[in-house]
Amino acid sequence: MSDCKPEEFLAATICRLVLDPSAPTARHVAVGAASPVPAAACYLAQKLGYPIRLSLLARTQGNPFSDGTRELFDLTGQGRIDLFFLGGGQIDGEANLNLVGTGEWPGKGVRFPGSFGSAFMYMMTPRIILFREEHSPRVLVQKVDNISANGVSPPGVFRRGHAQALVTGRCVFRFHPDRARFSLASVHAGETVDSIRAATGFDFDVDGEVPQTPAPSDQELALLRGAVCDEMLETYPDFCARVFGRKLAA
């Protein structure tokens, strides 16, 4: 498995979270623009035989929606999207996301692009998987400078769900909305609890022995490089070229 690319590893890891039998079934998953790894994870789940409906916002051709860019949010409002992916320029220990920028509002330090639909999607989707490949104290902070979308809500505020997990290039955290804290679920090969602590700006819980994140199986790798790549070639040509070494036929 030494030739497994980080993106393949992360896609397989996310796929397992998507299929987590302890979580409510993900029948319809939406994947935002510029998210090839989550997209690969969902295609992998499909190719493993799970009947997941997948709506890729990045697709300009064969786009899944016919009611404009509003439809994803309406669909989510209706409760028809079971799982969505979010990231953040900063993510803190209470799972708050900052997509606006650092420093004073509205990002007088480093301005990030903006909140997109996060302030809505985070609260209206039953399950959210957070994904940010960079795992550093710069990104995973004790407290975000600005909250684009909040990790937990006070009682009485309508909210369908929370972060299920945070996947980074170093580990998988589980989120516990009851105590608004992450716990370390698994560390990727080469990492330890201490190396994770050193790379993480926020406090997190460690409950007993922390396992290593399993590598993709041969079947998973074969599917990623074959059937998953086939699906993604048109929408993510650069990603497919870089990760799977394949190009769209002219």
């Binding site: 404009g68 860019t69 409002g77 606006v100 903006g114 909140s115 997109f116 909250i147």
Partner: protein, 274 residues
């Protein structure tokens, strides 16, 4: 049907107008944005529906913009929007951050002629804390306390977008990009560029009608071939990623951006006029 040339269309936009525009995954009129730069418009208040992209960055860079209300500004794969970021840091523009469905909802309120509309979510986000024009009330239909955000109707002065084609009646067709229909319905007037004008009446054609915006909402149309470029236009042409990367590189500095403007906004025009 009100067909004018591109520069005349740009001339209809007074300084200080509020303009609603779709981003790079929908149908922005980059052609009209460039014409607005050439016209030297000032003080625009741009609304990104629901986010902003290339057209916003060049308008901001050219000093045409006083305010940006949007849910994100980005060049997509080419990264952050350089002139927007610089102007924001320099305090040259007012920024009204929103979240995508809130932009849609504020326009839907105008579309429907109601003063506000509710939206779930948002409570707990700093976006809400920085929007004194947004309110939270208790849902009056709930048994117990159920706070919900109310968003005010947003009525832009102009909706601005690019469509595939216009017909002889002044209807425009742009397929599934229905956020442009909401923009047109919500705005006081809409200015549209199109690839071409064709005979007939889209509204009399059951296949074309669903992707059509009625002339009722369209106040000016100009032909601008490849008017969305470098952005994609449905299945007519793809995104020109090299053009955007080139822009992102040059626009990192104010000088580089001025050079880019000279080549891609002013020179093109001079060349076309020859």
């Amino acid at each position: 049907m009100s067909l004018v040339d591109l520069e005349s269309l740009a001339a209809r936009v007074p300084d200080g107008s509020r303009l609603a525009m779709p981003p790079d995954n929908s149908l922005p009129s980059v052609a009209l944005a460039k014409a607005l730069i050439r016209r030297g418009v000032r003080g625009l208040r741009l609304v990104g529906v629901p986010t902003s992209g290339f057209a916003t960055d060049i308008l901001v860079g050219a000093g045409c913009v006083a305010e940006v209300e949007t849910s994100a500004v980005s060049l997509g794969e080419a990264g952050f929007a350089p002139r927007f970021s610089a102007a924001l840091k320099a305090g040259e523009i007012e920024m009204k951050d929103a979240t995508c469905p809130a932009i849609h909802t504020m326009l839907q309120a105008s579309e429907k002629g109601v003063p506000f509309m509710p939206l779930r979510g948002i409570i707990g986000s700093d976006i809400l804390a920085h929007r004194p024009d947004w309110r939270v009330m208790d849902n009056p239909f709930a048994e117990s306390g159920d706070p919900i955000v109310l968003l005010p109707a947003l009525q832009p002065d102009f909706g601005v977008f690019h469509a595939v084609m216009a017909d002889a009646k002044g209807n425009v067709w742009l397929g599934r990009k229905r956020e442009c229909a909401t923009i047109a319905h919500a705005s006081k007037a809409s200015l549209v560029t199109v690839e071409r004008v064709v005979e007939g009446d889209f509204l009399a054609d059951e296949t074309l009608a669903p992707g059509c915006i009625s002339a009722t909402y369209i106040d000016g149309i100009a032909i601008a071939e490849r008017g969305a470029r470098p952005v994609a236009l449905l299945d007519e042409y793809r995104m020109d990623t090299a053009y955007i990367s080139d822009y992102a590189r040059m626009a990192k500095s104010a000088e580089g951006f001025r050079e880019w403007l000279a080549i891609h906004v002013f020179e093109t025009r001079a060349a076309a006029a020859e």
